[in-house]
Amino acid sequence: MTSRELTALMKSSPVNCHKALVKEYGRYVYAIVYNKLRGCGTSEDIEECVSDVFAALFMQCEYDLSSENDLKYLIGTIAKRKAIDYFRSLSARGSHISETDEDDMRELVSDFSVDERVDRSELRRVLLDKIDELGEPDSTILIQKFYYNRNSKEIAESVSMTAAAVRQRCARAMDKLRTKLLEVGMGR
């Protein structure tokens, strides 16, 4: 959706326009907010922050939307700023995310020792590259399992497999990833 399309939609029906924005950019905003609040907020905090982002976006649409704006960039900027605000206040409160994953897959990933001296950006790039090398659906399963904290049943729905198959693939993919990371000198 471009800013011009958005402006036109706003004129015909603001509520429908808001719905369309949430539908189109909900996942995008969620991913950005999740990335910042994953370590310090609960799922309710993340939902609150996402809804704050959209409320701010609706305000911008109502009062201050220029048709020259790059909409995706604008939404991304609002999302990052709001998420940082939430991160600050949640960190100040000292709240922590609660681990609710029911199975023991997490043990697999805790074996890695992250060397804090390694540049995190490089580490991030290498990790994502190695995960991608596993191919689909393994890369999606690992990211959704260990980064997005989804359970096997939820992942099974998104990759059209059974929960048992997801667990099995996840364990094997994690073994493969461990080997790949050892080859490049990461992990122990």
């Binding site: 509520v15 939902e47 809804s51 009062y63 805790s110 994502l128 980064y147």
Partner: protein, 458 residues
């Protein structure tokens, strides 16, 4: 405690890594999207209503010749006026006849000093009508008025001499205080801050040295008042001691209230300036200016409870308009910040970019450069070295954020950014030079919360 997870390094991702994580983000269910939409819409409507209200308040300007229109007309039945007139005449006539009968009895003593039977005087305080009457046998004549409280004083049987003089003398002290009073308490324990005075109830003091208090929840308390005098530093102070007949309802802060001649409209409880009775007709004149607006903001902060860990505040004029801005610091931790308010049309308004109220600084302080009206701060975090530079002009923040990233997803990316766009090293350095050239002073934590002295005219 959460175990170290290698996937944690994916947090705070930028650029390409973020895009890859967005691609793999699970689909959000329709129910969850609907929930987010409903929450967002609710927050949006609230923010819009707030903004519209502020806009509307700011645009109302009454001039001398303006006429208020659109007042609702009320209709009353035509027969109501003659009926109420007739009822009033009857009531007045009743009072006149009753009073005459009583006066006659007092002017004609019973013979040769015989014993007068015991008499009960009933004083009723209610809908504005007092009825005082007895017949010769000592029976009380009751009126038609609705009564809400009754105090009964029974005079001793006399030997024919009039007891009335003695009774009047006992309650003489209360005469200057008879009437309706508001009971007020300060929410910040300081009635010098007029914005902090909360209405707690209405107190009716009657000529028989009794009182009735109706608190703001509708609870009614009755009690009596006795006379007292205190001498402080050679000055005699008139005091009233309030004694409640009940244990329910709102009690006064202390039992003793003091009267000072310089403030004839007020009876204050204790010496702490926390609670007082104010005559109903007395209207406190509060000048509306930046000081009153900022006092109100600070009172709201105190009344909101423990929003911040260790708040303090400050006054500094950033934009050089002669009216200082109010700085409220949230505490002293790394994540603590400063919110800045400016004065406009009687209100303190948080500096905002129309989307959100901005927060400045870290560790609860920020820097300002008064000469050229800038707010600025810099800090280091896991993204890089971040500079935030805001020019505050005509009550709007023109903000630039420039960053030297120390992590890059793509080695080909520029490690320098301005407002989330890549820039060259030269451009970045020129922004840093601009930042460093300012005559910064660190502000935000000059006064303790509860210290209103810089905001009081005296």
């Amino acid at each position: 405690m959460k175990e170290k997870n290698i996937f944690d390094v994916l947090e705070n991702a930028e650029y390409d890594s973020m895009e890859r994580l967005i691609d793999k983000c699970p689909e959000i269910s329709d129910e969850q999207l609907e929930k987010i939409f409903v929450m967002s819409e609710k927050k949006f409507r609230k923010q819009r209503a707030e903004k519209e209200r502020t806009k509307r308040d700011n645009s109302i300007k009454m001039t001398h010749g303006d006429v208020v229109e659109g007042v609702e007309h009320s209709k009353r039945p035509a027969w109501l006026t003659p009926l109420t007139t007739a009822a009033s005449i009857l009531l007045i006539a009743g009072i006149a006849i009753g009073s005459t009968a009583m006066l006659k009895r007092h002017t004609k003593p019973h013979g040769d000093g015989g014993i007068t039977p015991a008499v009960t005087v009933t004083t009723s305080t209610g809908t504005g009508t007092n009825i005082v009457s007895t017949d010769e046998n000592g029976s009380t004549i009751t009126g038609t008025a609705v009564t809400t409280t009754t105090t009964t004083v029974t005079a001793k049987a006399s030997d024919g001499k009039d007891n009335n003089t003695e009774e009047t003398a006992d309650t003489e002290f209360i005469k200057p205080f008879v009437g309706t009073w508001r009971y007020e308490m300060s929410s910040v324990n300081n009635l010098s801050i007029p914005e902090s005075a909360d209405y707690m109830g209405t107190v009716e003091i009657t000529a028989d040295a009794a009182y009735t208090m109706t608190d703001n929840s509708g609870n009614v308390t009755h009690g009596t008042i006795s006379n007292a005098v205190e001498e402080i530093g050679g000055t005699r102070l008139q005091c009233l001691d309030f004694s409640s007949n009940e244990y329910s309802g709102t009690a006064f802060l202390t039992t003793r209230a003091y009267y000072v001649e310089s403030r004839p409209y007020e009876l204050h409880f204790g010496n702490s300036n926390i609670a007082r009775l104010v005559r109903e007709e007395h209207v406190e004149t509060i000048e509306t200016n930046w000081k009153s607006a900022y006092r109100k903001e600070l009172v709201n902060l105190i009344n909101a409870g423990t929003v911040f860990n260790d708040p303090m505040w400050d006054l500094q004029d950033i934009d050089g308009d002669g009216i200082p801005e109010l700085f409220i610091s949230s505490g002293t931790e790394k994540s603590d910040y400063v919110q800045i308010y400016y004065y406009e049309n009687g209100n303190a308004i948080g500096i905002n970019n129309t989307v959100q109220v901005l927060r400045f600084g870290d560790y609860g302080v920020t820097q300002i450069s008064k000469e050229d009206h800038y707010i600025g701060y810099s800090y280091v975090d896991n993204i890089g070295v971040i500079y935030d530079l805001t020019r505050f002009e005509e009550h709007y923040p023109y903000n630039d954020m420039f960053i030297h990233y120390h992590q890059l997803d793509d080695p080909d990316d520029s490690p320098y950014g301005l407002n989330a766009r890549p820039i060259s090293e030269e451009e970045f350095n020129s922004w840093v030079s601009k930042f460093n050239s300012k005559n910064w002073i660190s502000v935000g934590r000059q006064y303790y919360i509860g210290d209103f002295s810089p905001l009081l005219d005296n």
